[in-house]
């Protein structure tokens, strides 16, 4: 490994300030946002940096999330590096435009402080807001703590802006559990380190248009003007979607590469960037989970390991594109795989993480004997170690054949 480790300082930050500090170091050209709990602190903190003249970012106050993401379309189409943040119902209001951002191949960075969706109205954590956007053509990464929120926000720009990819990226942090929970976060002392990592400005790719080389942007200096967002009929719509699919296919490798490159300057690394396994190799029982709950589960699993129970935790960090190859590789031959969804799942066999894991495992000859789904933590319902223990005990009974496996159960609800 090259020794390029950059100097860092420790600051007491909660997840949202961590995202704001990452933005400060990246210095996007444009930030537009509308406040919504539990995201507000990201833009609140960042607007302080703007007001103090610490960043050169153009900060646009808008009247809704629909406008915030629309401002991102305009800014990114003009070639700018653009970022915004939201949560829950705000993310739902962005929904329409999310598809437009990805189809226009605009590498916008969106921070989401995951929150339950109304109703009943609730401001606390679950992943339902993000899950409602999972087919919007965005790259989706789920972080585990404030440190990872800082690191991933920086990485996000480099992933999204890669000329092979050019897709927008959503960085998720559990509302309150990460967003409002303070920890010692290592941030780079010199913002130039971050600038060197992501590039001083966004690299805007060139394309051939009518025999001329033009910037894929609304740059008025283009010899041929570029139109964004025109009509595509049944004769070409499908072809443009196919291009997006192909770009998405390249994301897993780029995420891994950026994760490695970031390790060289920071000393921090999150698995292979896509999944973060903890004691999975020799495990009989593996819990698959996203977000902050992974930490609680590792804490409990450590105690079970001391007792000789071979239990592993597999945190899915990149949800879109779904890392199905990694899951196949890591989960083949396991006795019990338990997938934890922190999202609403009415009227379906299981949560989205469960269903996609199940689909990936289907193609293995040595697929796990039992795959079960737990839905937990809706609307900020606590998922404490005692509850994890109850679940683990159940999984052990299933492994030993003492309890019948099931498809889906709910953890932490009174029944």
């Amino acid at each position: 490994m090259r020794t390029r480790l950059a100097e860092q300082v420790e600051m007491l930050l909660h997840g949202e300030s961590a995202v704001a500090w990452a933005w400060k170091h990246v210095e996007p050209d444009v930030v537009a946002a509308f406040p919504i709990t539990p995201q507000t602190l990201i833009v609140e903190k960042f607007s302080e940096f703007v007001a103090n003249g610490e960043v050169r970012t153009q900060f646009v106050s808008v009247e809704s999330e629909h406008s915030a993401i629309s401002a991102m379309v305009g800014a990114a189409a003009a070639g700018a590096r653009a970022a915004t943040a939201t949560a829950a119902n705000g993310l739902q209001l962005m929904h329409e435009i999310l598809y437009i951002v990805s189809s226009m191949r605009l590498p916008v960075m969106l921070g989401v402080a995951n929150r339950a969706v109304s109703g009943p109205i609730n401001i606390h954590c679950d992943h339902t807001d993000a899950m409602g956007q999972r087919d919007a053509g965005w790259i989706m990464i789920f972080t585990e703590d404030a440190q990872e929120a800082y690191d991933t926000t920086i990485q996000a720009f480099k992933i999204a802006e890669n000329p092979e990819i050019l897709l927008p990226i959503m960085v998720n942090l559990d509302g309150f559990l990460i967003s409002h929970t303070a920890m010692n976060v290592k941030v780079f002392k010199d913002p130039k380190v971050v600038k060197d990592f992501v590039g001083e400005t966004r690299p805007v790719p060139k394309i051939k248009l009518m025999g001329e080389e033009v910037e894929l942007s609304l740059n008025p200096r283009n010899p041929i003007p570029v139109t964004f967002g025109p009509f595509a009929y049944y004769d070409y719509y499908f072809e443009f979607k196919r291009q997006q699919i192909e770009a998405m296919k390249k994301v897993p490798d780029v995420v891994e590469r950026v994760n490695d490159e970031y390790y060289e300057i920071s000393g921090r690394k999150y698995g292979n960037g896509r999944v973060v396994p903890w004691n999975v190799d020799d495990a009989d029982i593996v819990a698959v989970v996203m977000g902050s709950a992974a930490g609680t589960m590792r804490y409990v699993a450590r105690k079970y390991r001391e007792r000789g129970v071979k239990i592993g935790i597999l945190r899915v960090r990149m949800f879109r594109p779904f890392p199905w190859r990694d899951l196949q590789e890591l989960l083949r031959g396991k006795e019990v795989v338990a997938v934890f969804d922190r999202t609403q799942d009415q009227g379906v066999m299981g949560g989205p993480l469960f269903l996609e894991t199940l689909a990936a495992l289907h193609y293995l000859d040595d697929r796990p004997r039992n795959v079960v789904n737990y839905v937990f933590g809706l609307g900020g319902r606590d998922f404490p170690p005692e509850l994890v223990e109850k679940v683990f005990d159940e999984l052990i009974r299933i492994k030993d054949g003492k309890e019948k496996p099931f498809v889906k159960k709910y953890v932490g609800v009174r029944e």
């Binding site: 189809s103 191949r105 248009l209 009518m210 894929l216 964004f228 025109p230 072809e239 291009q243 192909e246």
Partner: protein
């Protein structure tokens, strides 16, 4: 557009940006009624030319370019909206059924 002209997904620019000028998209086949100009009545006031949302009214000018000689409809692009017939002050434009 015939099948032979259609390109594959990796043969067109990304992001849905158009790679042809709009003049290459013949929108005339959207039409269900066609405007027909009665040149005997036409006073060449050019109201139709100004109002046409598709620039589908062609004006032929006298050789010195001082005044319009003849007004024609470009059926390659006329979508048949009928605005020209509606604004014509001498009712010289009739909307006739049929595309062609």
């Amino acid at each position: 557009m015939s099948g032979a002209e259609l390109r594959k997904w990796n043969e067109v620019p990304i992001a849905g940006v158009p790679w042809k000028f709009s003049t290459e998209y013949k929108t005339g086949d959207w039409r269900s009624e066609r405007p027909v100009i009665d040149h005997g009545k036409c006073t060449k006031c050019l109201f139709c030319y100004i109002y046409c949302p598709e620039m589908a009214i062609k004006v032929h000018w006298t050789s010195d370019g001082s005044k319009p000689e003849k007004v024609e409809v470009d059926y390659n692009f006329c979508k048949g909206c009928g605005i020209c017939a509606n604004v014509c002050p001498v009712k010289a434009i009739n909307m006739e059924p049929g595309r062609r």
